[in-house]
Symmetry: D2
């Protein structure tokens, strides 16, 4: 059974994102994951800029990335994600697939928290906006 | 008791590494960690380019990064690391400290493997070169 | 009368491409310009990777960029370009417009040459492939 | 006779700054040039952050870069610069040399202006701070 995702973003690898090994540099996957989260937020009705205007500063507290297959210049991929809430954390599960062969290239678990004046807060405003887009804890992700 | 490290690299934050939040963008820490590993390899006697000339392609299989305190433009930091071998993996433990207040800003555990013709190998040539720089499994890291 | 272009690429600004000034960092426009050239080449029937497989290494010899209006995170823009041949040079004229207000944000003139074994060559194979996509010298660009 | 410069910054090429052609990606030279200008400003007594605190937003209006020799991963280079004032513009002339063979790799002329509330101003506060570091118009640069 195919895994279900809340949001999918198509990304085409740009040549300058590859390093001398001829593959996308590891750090650039983190850029893809961030880009997909921000596009997801906009899609869900609250862009990153709008969240910040609410006085909330979302920050990444921890990221875990598994690298499985390398992406090359010009390749098309899809970054698919699920988001859930866990206490004060917003956790994103993101998978990048190469379109050509549907191979999983990289997976990430990204733990984020909201800061207000530098202190962690629950981010209820954000949760309210994301509402239906947050995966239930009991769902398989 | 202060933690011991095998290698330390001083890095000064460049303004273009910061994003609109005014702090170093998360992905750039991964650049710092990679830069420190590559400088360490050169320091240990086998630069990344030399390893590749041996027909060995070191790749990152997994990275875990904890973000604790943000770095800002112009700040001086130190990336300190330990490396150990675990089966076919070479694992790097890297910590970035801000020099001004000695605060831990970010920690990473980076799991790398060596590929030959696309298949994982033990990387004994690399282990031989790193020799004394590899932390014993029994050491506290 | 509106300026005519051979190729148009739509690009959405990613938040990590902005710096602490809250606008796209100057160097990232160069990334956009490169990305548009490479997409144009693929569109014209010879991707950058394919050109390199012909033993030709296209390199930028000179770039001139005018910055007129700043782009911000999330904004949609279009990079439009014309290409012409001038002796051994392939010259690209590239303009980036913000979609929302059609304002010209940045213009570039990019002079490239083809190298074979490190020496400049005419790049006739490339010119043959680009054929109809090369603007006539007498055209207004 | 050797060219004279006001300021020199040593930079070591990081592997991730190279692209699939195995050389430093063109856009990254622009990062080096920016980094050198900002270090120069700090050296001259007014860091980029401090300038912005004065309510002045320095922006690049135009950049011209000539690429002469490619830099590779791990290579050491020096970015040398001169700065002069011309009307409301602050112009930087920057040259990057590879240390190993003293070859000129890239040259840039960077035209910057100061904005206050989005409008160009003379930036006299900045000029006052840079004082002795500004090259006289009559000097050879």
């Amino acid at each position: 059974m195919e895994k279900k995702y809340t949001y999918t973003l198509e990304i085409k690898v740009r040549d300058y994102e590859c390093d001398a090994q001829g593959i996308v540099n590891n750090a650039n996957y983190q850029h893809y994951f961030e880009y997909a989260r921000h596009e997801f937020l906009e899609h869900a009705g609250c862009s990153f800029a709008e969240i910040r205007k609410l006085g909330i500063e979302p920050v990444v507290a921890r990221i875990e990335i598994d690298y499985k297959n390398s992406l090359h210049g010009g390749e098309l991929c899809q970054c698919k994600l699920n988001a859930k809430r866990e206490g004060i954390k917003f956790i994103f599960y993101e998978d990048i697939y190469r379109v050509a062969d549907n191979k999983l290239c990289s997976s990430a678990k990204v733990t984020t928290v909201c800061l207000k004046s530098g202190r962690p807060v629950r981010g209820d405003e954000l949760a309210a906006k994301l509402g239906q887009y947050l995966t239930d804890d009991t769902a398989t992700i």
